[in-house]
Symmetry: C2
Subunit: 274 residues, 2 copies
């Protein structure tokens, strides 16, 4: 697998700054976030990435269909369509899709799942016309209230099966590492040729924040090498992308952060990563 950096890992930088740091660190891929691309302009972003010899390894983010309530779902679908079009212009094959958490003023996961599923089906019609695959990312259960009512790879695979072509599954070790059914679900996604994205980071034993305290691979207790092996066995030949939400990393000089990340990945993954 080739190494890539998800732009959130360098969250304080613009797209141009992040791309320059990633290229300087000798890493070949950047996964971009739509707000940062929009801030720079799509054509400019594409030129920056291309001129630095980088590839777009992934795009974030479509979805969050439930975040603004049932009335707000149409607006979220529109925003997702724009993000999908952006992904297509950047030449990306897929876009990370996070379906959203509970509806405002509701405590029902079932209701949120129904709204999210319907919105996803509508969004998929548009995505199919662009060739961009919607890559469903299941998030850790601790994010089920606010970010994703899809909490397991099994649910992501089930949704792909129900929705059909144009959908796939994204695997992030931070979200799935606790789940003993996850290896079989990775194999299932691979067998269905619906396995597109692989994100890694680490779980710190003393996690201080639910959202902003992930570790660099090697700092915590996730066996990223074992998960990489599951991905490779399932046929994944694309990128391994480091995605770290961390106030600590964001406060570091970016060159230093990337140097620690490259060293951590090499130690954890060995020759699984180029």
């Amino acid at each position: 697998m080739k190494m890539a950096i998800n732009q959130i890992t360098l969250n304080n930088l613009t797209l141009r700054q992040a791309a320059e740091e990633i290229a300087k660190a000798g890493i070949g891929g950047i996964s971009v976030w739509s707000d940062k691309v929009m801030a720079e302009g799509i054509a400019t972003s594409k030129a920056i990435i291309c001129d630095l010899g980088l590839e777009v390894s992934g795009v974030c983010l479509a979805g969050l269909f439930t975040q603004k309530g049932i009335e707000g779902a149409a607006g979220q679908i529109d925003a997702s369509r724009r993000a999908i079009d952006m992904a297509a212009e950047l030449g990306a094959g897929s876009i990370i899709t996070v379906v959203g958490g509970l509806l405002p003023d509701s405590k029902s996961h079932d209701e949120a799942r129904a709204v999210a599923f319907d919105a996803l089906a509508v969004t998929l019609e548009h995505a199919r016309g662009t060739g961009v695959v919607l890559s469903l990312e299941s998030l850790h259960p601790m994010y089920s209230p606010d970010w994703s009512v899809i909490s397991t790879l099994k649910d992501a695979n089930d949704w792909c099966d129900r929705l059909g072509p144009g959908t796939s599954v994204a695997v992030d070790t931070y979200h799935v590492w606790w789940d003993k059914t996850a290896p079989a679900e990775i194999a299932r996604a691979g067998a269905a040729a619906q396995l597109t994205d692989f994100h890694i980071s680490d779980w710190l034993m003393q996690t201080e924040s639910l959202l902003r305290d992930r570790g660099i691979p090697g700092e915590g207790v996730i066996d990223n090498a074992a998960w990489a092996d599951h991905m490779i066995a399932a046929g994944h030949t694309g990128w391994v992308e480091v995605e770290i939400f961390s106030s600590r990393i964001w406060a570091m000089p970016p060159g230093q952060a990337l140097s620690k990340i490259v060293a951590g990945c090499r130690t954890c993954l060995g020759d699984r990563v180029l």
Copy 2:
């Protein structure tokens, strides 16, 4: 169901202080922690609880078999045996059993599960002689690294099936509310007559700490009424126990905390609670 308070909710108080506050608030049950009982003495604890007209609704804690490594498992089994004997002396029917997280210096959930399962089987032999049931509590996946490699009710039920008589399942809404398979697993435990404990609290939308920021029922996004209905439908007729790990609640005057808890439970649960 009758209302009870888990002693951790009043973590800064001794057993005597906690029991007095709980009785003063008109609540009928107290779930005790073994360290607090040991500090007061078992016979004294029993007399305090009895004299105040309270019942022991539950006992914490057996298990944590993996916490001190493979070499330390024997010591953890011994400690669990003592806690089980204490539960028997207090007249409790079951003891909450949390199996433990990853082994020190290991990243393998599989390895931890194997060690925990074997230790549990040994502990169960002792428990059977006392009549105290080992009530397996699955914890939220965010506690899988340090507290419990059983992260779902399905796993707790599967372990009960493998271990046989003398085991049961504890349901805590904070741990299971994200899991869409949980209602069916509650029904499964009820049908197998292995459903003994029911804990509630709430998930705060802006959770600040993984361990010490639970909410009072009604403050957050868990539909505790729906979960109570699942428990009642599965045949649970015992206690509904409020267990809140919260620095905020611990800093409140205990009478005020209990008054908020009683009001919250009445509003959330209506006539499901006496």
